[in-house]
């Protein structure tokens, strides 16, 4: 390309206005590194543990789920028994109809009398057996109905308990994080405005630069003295405007980069708070096989707060954060303390809750491969004792007090037995 026809830079007036160098003392970068994230993570975990929030939620949720399964099983049994009762009663009715037909036939044809008499004798015998079965089935039916109601009531009880116990702690935490959320929301709103202004201004600069360059190319292709003279007269003013815009753009982009960096640091530091809410929310999911109408407690903040946190850069989507910070965050995104999901209770596997349980009750530590048959609940587990112990947990609200209380409680022979009972409860609820 031919040499530019623009005036040399040193021909542009030295008096031309230039952006003054700025001292942005408020633009200091926040401290980076893992320390802040770790501090928040440890604070949240320590707080959850001290309030036994996980445990308070975990146990009653498990018991509620277990009770729901039992209620459903009992309900199936009620249906099955009712069908058998109906079938017996229908069979009895059919026999009576057959007898009436045989009797009518015998009245018309004496040869049929013998068959009728035999059928009558058989029916009398069957009737006695059927009555006996019916009495037994009806008794079983009443028991099954009672059991279904009982488990349903238990489910409601545990469900109400977990909501009443866990809510105050979680609500207080959500209330206390509101001021931070409000600032985060302001950042979520204002940063895009700044980005928009920068983009808009850059477009104006680009337009002038592009128009200017196009004209320059045209002149270089077919220069005329007058046109060149006119161009050279205007060029310094244009170049000065472009340089001034460039200086402002660079300054703003540098400051925006610092802002992005700071916001990424803040978002990462706040990440454990979001994760705990998600973690607890998952644990609160009721596996209601029989009844899905029971309202579940949502530990996440108000819909408004949740909406705010769902926007960049705070909340789940932090895709616009600097890559280094995002990658680092992903690397350290192990779940808070423990997590788990509820599985099929027919063959109960002790799994995700092992870590926490073992930590607090090493005497009755789980073997990860062990399986517990939930049927043991029906045969050997004193339900009243379970309820008492669960109530103790609700009242004490921490593990240590719970340990002391069950240790002092002599209604069950020894601590090992009581822990074993709790272990079974936890396993059965899965």
């Amino acid at each position: 390309m031919a040499e530019s026809i623009r005036p040399k830079a040193d021909t542009i007036s030295k008096d031309a206005p230039k952006p003054a160098p700025k001292m942005h003392i408020e633009d200091r970068a926040l401290p980076e590194g893992d320390r802040w994230f770790d501090r928040t993570k440890h604070a949240v975990e320590g707080w959850l543990r001290s309030k036994a929030v996980d445990f308070q939620i975990l146990v009653p949720t498990m018991l509620a789920n277990m009770s729901a399964s039992r209620a459903q099983e009992a309900s199936f049994k009620v249906d099955s028994l009712q069908q058998r009762v109906d079938s017996l009663q229908q069979g009895d009715a059919r026999t009576q109809v057959e007898l009436v037909k045989l009797e009518a036939r015998a009245a018309l044809n004496p040869k049929a009398r013998a068959a009728y008499e035999q059928a009558k004798r058989n029916a009398t015998l069957d009737q006695a057996k059927r009555n006996e079965d019916l009495i037994s089935l009806k008794s079983q039916l009443e028991k099954a109905k009672g059991k279904a109601v009982n488990w349903s009531n238990r489910k409601s009880h545990f469900d109400a308990a977990r909501q009443n116990i866990a809510n105050p702690h979680l609500e207080e935490l959500n209330r206390r994080r509101e001021p931070f959320d409000q600032h985060a929301q302001k950042l979520n709103e204002r940063i895009p405005v700044l980005e928009g202004k920068i983009n808009e201004f850059r477009a104006k600069r680009d337009k002038l630069q592009s128009t200017f360059s196009q004209l320059e190319e045209r002149l270089m292709e077919s220069p005329t003295p007058d046109a060149l003279a006119a161009f050279r007269k205007t060029a310094p003013q244009v170049q000065m405007a472009i340089d001034l815009a460039e200086a402002h753009l660079k300054d703003s982009e540098d400051r925006l980069a610092t802002i992005h960096k700071n916001v990424a640091v803040l978002a990462r530091a706040a990440m454990p708070l979001d994760r705990y809410a998600k973690d607890i929310h998952n644990k609160l999911k009721l596996r209601t096989l029989a009844d899905t109408t029971v309202p579940t407690f949502d530990p996440t903040p108000s819909p408004e707060a949740a909406r705010r946190r769902s926007h960049y850069p705070f909340g789940i989507d932090r895709s616009a954060a600097p890559k280094a910070a995002t990658a680092e965050a992903a690397r350290t995104s192990e779940p808070l303390s423990f997590s788990g999901s509820l599985e099929d209770s027919d063959s109960v596997k002790v799994g995700d809750y092992v870590e926490t349980w073992n930590e607090f009750f090493p005497e009755a530590a789980f073997d990860e491969k062990s399986e517990v048959n939930p049927a043991i609940l029906d045969t050997s587990l004193p339900i009243k004792e379970i309820e008492t112990m669960v109530q103790d947990i609700y009242n004490d609200r921490d593990y240590d007090s719970f340990r002391e209380r069950i240790d002092a409680d002599r209604r069950i022979p020894d601590l090992q037995t009581r822990l074993e009972l709790m272990r079974i409860i936890l396993a059965a609820g899965r």
């Binding site: 928040t40 604070a43 320590g46 002038l208 200017f212 003013q237 405007a241």
Partner: protein, 68 residues
């Protein structure tokens, strides 16, 4: 007196347009600088406030853990 060529007329018009754009950009630069300064100051104060609130929250969580 010589008449201006078509090319000279075109260039003259293009230069007029460029001059207008150039003046607009110079004016916009001032507005842009003022606006972004204010906006960045506002954003930075939100960053500082958010940090302060997060510090307070974490301190509260830590003190809650110790008491129990």
């Amino acid at each position: 007196m010589t008449q201006p060529t078509n090319n000279t007329v075109d260039v003259s018009e293009a230069l007029k347009e460029i001059e207008v754009l150039s003046q607009q950009l110079a004016d916009d630069s001032k507005v842009f600088a003022t606006d972004t300064d204010a906006l960045i100051a506002e954003i930075n104060s939100e960053v500082v406030a958010a940090k302060s609130e997060l510090d307070k929250l974490v301190t509260w969580l830590e003190s809650g853990s110790k008491k129990e």
